[in-house]
Structure formats: structure tokens, C-alpha cells
């Protein structure tokens, strides 16, 4: 009787050990996915650049050069040289400015690797962690003449190899 109990007990121990090992390995074996936080910070930083103190920077209403954007906004899309990231940029930013009342598109611009934006279309209904992370934020802004605008910012961060298994 005692022996039978011990056999069952050790069987349970092995099952418990297997489950613990599986959980620990699958939890710690996956890289930490920080892309959502990165995308949030990138959106906030860009929002501060496009509308400092919520007053629209009117430069963004006309055509906007990519290099001026990087210099003005203090953003740098260079990455470490791993997984061929130097050639394929890991970031993308898109902005659209609408007239708040008529919803007419007044200006738009793209910065970074525009191929990444295509993945956002696939994820409109359901987010997929094995694809680049997309984040869209909208906010209201005014210009110096108190005209009202709706600004939409989409940030996309890839960096899949270091954030997703």
C-alpha cells in the first residue's frame, strides 16, 4: 500500500517538475517585448515635435523633408548592426493632419521604412505579436490663428528578432 502511494507520489512530482520546467523555460526563453513601450514613447516624442505645447508647427502643413524632420524632432532611426538592421530600417512614422471641422486631409508625411506600414493593415482586426508593432494616436491641435486640426500619428516598430521568438 505504502509503496503504491510512493509510486503515485513520485509520478505527481515528475508531472509537477515537468510543468514547472516547461513554464520557466517558455517564460524566460522568450525575449522581453518592449516594442509597445517604444512605440508609445516615439509617438509622444513626435507629437511634441509636431505640436509643441499643443500649437501646431506649421512646417508640417507644407511638404516636409526627412532630414529636417530628424534634425528638428531629435529622432534618430539608426540601429545596431545586427540581423541586417542597418540596411532595413526598423522604424516607421506616419503623420496626417486633418481639418478638424471638415475632416479634409491637409498634410501627410512618412519617415523611416515605409514597408513596415503594410503590416499594420493585417493587424487592424487583431494584433499579431510576430509582426511589426503598430500604434496609432490622434490628438487635437490649433495653430497660431486658432484654426483647429486633428493630428494622427502612426508609429511602427519592427525589431522582431530581439523582441519576439
Amino acid at each position: 500500500m505504502d509503496k503504491t502511494i510512493s509510486i503515485y507520489w513520485f509520478a505527481i512530482l515528475f508531472i509537477v517538475a515537468g510543468a514547472v520546467i516547461y513554464m520557466v523555460v517558455s517564460f524566460y526563453g522568450n525575449p522581453l517585448d518592449v516594442r509597445e513601450m517604444e512605440a508609445n514613447i516615439l509617438s509622444s516624442k513626435f507629437a511634441e515635435c509636431i505640436a509643441p505645447d499643443n500649437l501646431l508647427n506649421e512646417k508640417f502643413l507644407s511638404s516636409y523633408d526627412e532630414q529636417i524632420f530628424f534634425d528638428d524632432c531629435g529622432i534618430n532611426f539608426e540601429t545596431e548592426n545586427s540581423f541586417n538592421w542597418k540596411e532595413q530600417k526598423q522604424y516607421f512614422l506616419k503623420f496626417r493632419i486633418f481639418n478638424f471641422d471638415s475632416n479634409e486631409l491637409l498634410s501627410e508625411g512618412n519617415f523611416g521604412n515605409s514597408n513596415l506600414y503594410d503590416f499594420c493593415e493585417f493587424q487592424k482586426e487583431k494584433e499579431q505579436s510576430n509582426l511589426p508593432f503598430c500604434l496609432t494616436r490622434k490628438f487635437y491641435s490649433i495653430d497660431s490663428n486658432e484654426n483647429k486640426f486633428l493630428v494622427e500619428i502612426t508609429s511602427v516598430i519592427s525589431k522582431l528578432e530581439k523582441n519576439v521568438k
Binding site: S6, V16, A17, Y28, V34, I75, E78, E80
Partner: protein, 131 residues
């Protein structure tokens, strides 16, 4: 005297059983603890969190981070305190395991100075000056 012998056997069996269980659970706890304090995990965790902190910082920000555990682990692996953290351009590398380390980039175009005050890492985020 037979009953006394039988009682002795029962105590012995239970004792062995309890010891085996304790050994088993100790091994489990040790396994989890080893995985949690893995130097590779530490490298990834610290490089990503420092990169995120720099991203979220405005110029003239001073960040102080407690690196006691990291330095202790790095010393175990033969890495000096000065070699634990490296900043090259907008890429931060943390080396704890004594191999290549873990690098992660930040997009905030700022100049960052890093140094240690005892076991605390000090990061000074400053505006990039034109060269």
C-alpha cells in the same frame, strides 16, 4: 519488541520520503532561481530598460540606476565594472556574461554620458551638440 522494530521502520521510511521531497523541491527552486538570475537575461533586461529610459528622457536629465546585482554578477564572470555598460552612438550594450553582451538602440537623438558612482549607474542625457 517486534512492535518497536516496526515503529522504527515507519519513522525511517517517512524520514527518507520527506528528505527526498525536500531535495526535489530544493532542486526546483534552484532551477527557477538560476533561470531568473541568468546573466544573459540580465543583459537583455538592463539594455532594454536603459534604452527606454533614454528614449523617454529630455535633455538635461540625470538618471540614477542601482546596478549592484549586475556588477556582482559581472565580477563573477570576469567583467570589470567599467566594461559592463558601453554607449556607442545611439546603441547601448550591457555585458554581464563576459561574452558579446546585449545591444539595443534608442531613437532619441541625444548625447548620453555614463559613469558609475560606487554601484550606481549615472546617465546624463544632454542635447546633441553640432560637431
Amino acid at each position: 519488541m517486534k512492535w518497536l522494530e516496526k515503529r522504527g521502520n515507519i519513522i525511517m521510511e517517512n524520514l527518507v520520503f520527506i528528505i527526498l521531497n525536500l531535495v526535489f523541491f530544493s532542486i526546483m527552486i534552484l532551477f527557477v532561481a538560476t533561470k531568473m538570475s541568468s546573466p544573459y537575461l540580465m543583459e537583455e533586461k538592463y539594455s532594454k530598460s536603459v534604452a527606454l529610459m533614454i528614449d523617454a528622457s529630455k535633455p538635461e536629465t540625470l538618471i540614477t540606476l542601482d546596478f549592484t546585482d549586475v556588477i556582482k554578477q559581472a565580477k563573477k564572470n570576469g567583467v570589470s565594472k567599467e566594461a559592463v555598460i558601453t554607449l556607442a552612438g545611439n546603441v547601448i550594450s550591457v555585458n554581464v556574461a563576459g561574452k558579446n553582451g546585449y545591444s539595443y538602440s534608442f531613437f532619441n537623438d541625444v548625447s548620453v554620458k555614463s559613469y558609475f558612482d560606487e554601484d550606481k549607474l549615472i546617465l546624463l542625457v544632454q542635447e546633441k551638440t553640432a560637431a
